[in-house]
Amino acid sequence: MATIADDLRPLHHPKSWVGKYVWSQDHKIIAIQYAVTAIGVGIFALVLSFIMRLQLALPGQFQFIQPDNYLQFVTMHGMIMVVYLLTALLLGGFGNYLIPLMIGARDMVFPFVNMLSYWFYLLSVIVLFAGLFVPGGPTGGGWTLYPPQTILEGTPGASWGILMMMASLAIFVVAFTMGGLNYVTTVLQARTKGMTLMRMPCSVWGIFVASIMGLLAFPALFVAAIMTVFDSIAGTSFFVPTIVSMGKTLGHAGGSPILFQHLFWFFGHPEVYIVALPAFGIVSDLISVHARKNLFGYRMMVWAIIIIGALSFFVWAHHMYVSGMNPYFGFFFATSTLIIAIPTAIKVYNWLLTLWRGNIHFHVPMLFAIAFLFTFIHGGLSGLFLGNVSVDVPLSDTFFVIGHFHMVMGVSPVLVIFGAIYHWYPKITGRMWDERLARLHFWITFIGAYAIFLPMHYIGMLGVPRRYYALGETVFIPQSVHYANMGITIAAGIVFAAQALFFYNMIVSLFRGAKADPNPWGAASLEWQTAETPPGHGNWGATLPTVYRWAYDYSVPGAARDFIPQNEAPGGTAEPHPS
């Protein structure tokens, strides 16, 4: 029998503390590095959002929020949340931690490249933050970074800020490519004996397909970033048309701003699903485990993930209905947008049918998973409005859009991330968190999210534009909008403060939490069957597990327990792996 003892080459065995925890090639450490960094920058972006809320509730009351700053906060908040938090945390964090453990591998296929991926990611974060200190500050062009506005005088950060942002994004793309290659290759190559593709948990499917999508979509951002830098520094005219500014003709001529938008959204829309698909996968697993029921329509769930991934490359221009592109494109992209609702709806129905008559345990991860269903359905439905050209045109660039995308790709994945952290924390740390604090954190966050984003739909329908520093005396904006803005800001303050409960719980539990059971939820998937908790270097001790079944054997009639681990042979019991 071949064992790891026979050949140690695939695993890098660190000898020192620095080798083990800093320059680590262990997927679990890299996952934690990714997660901590991503959450760190996420907190920064959260603070920015609260500053924006302060300005919207009390316009002009704060000296440190000037119009330029406000636009810079808007831009940094958006970009950090979408790219540096959600993408990095879901793929770099959860992808790294879960893929090898869930498919029964010892590590990623290319651990060194995996390590490089994290350090390039950190570099991209450093460059991004360095942008705060360059002359003119960071770019204030909005997270979509549309030229010519972003590189023209008058926009905050038009000289240095935009360059730092583009450089940071280009480095991020390199980091992601290194990580993404690893995730995909590991799933294709390193599944343990018996782990067929259709025995993989949905979490792995979500991360796997999202990684492939990232490999396809991020080059578009890379190209757009480099071309913008060329336009900005070298004076090329890829995107910038002839412009007369203050009576002076600028040096550019003939560029196409819409070209940038096509490139950006060719990345930007799949990016929504790069964030959503891992969340879909994880929520499927949370619901199944905590409802003690097999996932309804597993095959359909997997196919839906693949179909959504593929279709998401054909809907990008629904972000561009008002861009001036050929109006006939609108018809095509509205149609494809509505078609993508079909596999998405299949997923939602299957989640609901998994819950149906399940033995539901309202553990905190389950609460977050159910909350996700609410916010995702909500955000999905408002997406149907915006997917239609004629409805989108008046709603474009209003707070309705802000409400929609925060619900569907802000709150929803964040709720899944919280659920996932609560779910896997006992395996990652070997400790349990405090139940009461976690429940309190859940209820404030969930209700608070509605209190923040639901009113935005209404003020959006009144025509309140996004990205405006102040509304001033505007005829069509009634007093109620100002009250709503005040209410939203109060809710945002409460939700913002409530996150302290989460961080306090996670950090204190790390030292004082009760020792966790190796499989506290009675989950069937492989990561809960490791000999050690937290899993040791190499994950599986001397021998890799063999997989005999899918990941959803819950409440099987006649079985001794209400779950059957994936590594339990038919008619037998799962043997713990010798460590």
């Binding site: 071949a2 490519t177 290759t185 490999l215 090329t236 070209l259 096509h262 597993y298 038919p570």
Partner: protein, 238 residues
């Protein structure tokens, strides 16, 4: 098992081990083969250059059609790069490099020898020569004294817009695209040279897996050649 069969499997019906899994060892000895990883990377590279091609064509077609006979595309300020002789020489160098890499692979398969090492060395050197040629080509395209050789295209826009502070190559979007695309391609060649250096080190050290390393090196080189031929086709045909 075909992909279709794999994806239509009903995993809840059949606990146990399939014949394929039973035949597998409990753990495959490492290190992992890099073929799939390289394939995926080339997939990313393809995406990058497909997007650049799309951007090239969209930018070229922006603001109306071509003005007959002039090679200029109306308000898009587009002037085709033309076919400087160095373009063909560089391409020939990359083709030669790819052929030599294949010869090196054949020789390595026959067993480690001086010839196989020499061929590997020459293949990489030709890659370096290609890069040097490309840099020379960039200098030519940025220099209006060579305008005659280039059919006066490179400097036409620059001359028409004396107010522009942009360098010659940047004023004409066709040339700017040439710089962008050939620059990114050059960076990939540079990355390939790093892999080539590592492969060379492995070949000199000897041991298992040399043939596969040279094979993957040659595969990457072939692909970069293919990308370049397509890109060059784009430049000379538009």
């Amino acid at each position: 098992m075909s992909l279709f069969a794999a994806l239509t499997d009903k995993p809840w019906l059949s606990p146990g081990l399939g014949a394929e899994a039973r035949a597998r060892p409990d753990e495959r000895p490492g290190p992992w083969d890099k073929g799939i990883g390289l394939g995926l990377f080339l997939f990313v590279v393809t995406m990058l250059f497909v997007l650049l091609t799309a951007a090239y064509l969209m930018r070229m077609g922006a603001h109306g059609g071509a003005e007959a006979g002039s090679g200029s595309h109306g308000a898009s300020h587009w002037h085709a790069v033309g076919e400087p002789p160095l373009l063909w020489i560089n391409t020939a160098m990359l083709v030669a490099s790819s052929i030599v890499f294949h010869a090196a692979l054949t020789a390595t398969r026959a067993g480690p020898s001086l010839a196989s090492r020499a061929l590997l060395l020459v293949g990489g050197l030709l890659g370096i020569a290609f890069l040097a040629g490309q840099i020379a080509l960039w200098r030519i395209l940025d220099d209006c004294t060579h305008a005659l050789a280039l059919g006066d295209a490179a400097c036409a826009v620059r001359a028409a817009a004396p107010a522009s502070a942009a360098p010659v190559w940047a004023a004409n979007p066709a040339t700017a695209f040439f710089y962008l695309i050939s620059g990114l391609h050059g960076l990939h060649i540079l990355g390939g040279l790093a892999a080539w250096a590592l492969t060379g080190k492995r070949v000199l050290a000897g041991g298992a897996g040399i043939v596969r390393a040279v094979q993957l090196c040659a595969r990457y080189w072939d692909y970069m050649l293919l990308v370049w031929l397509v890109m060059m086709g784009l430049f000379v045909s538009t």
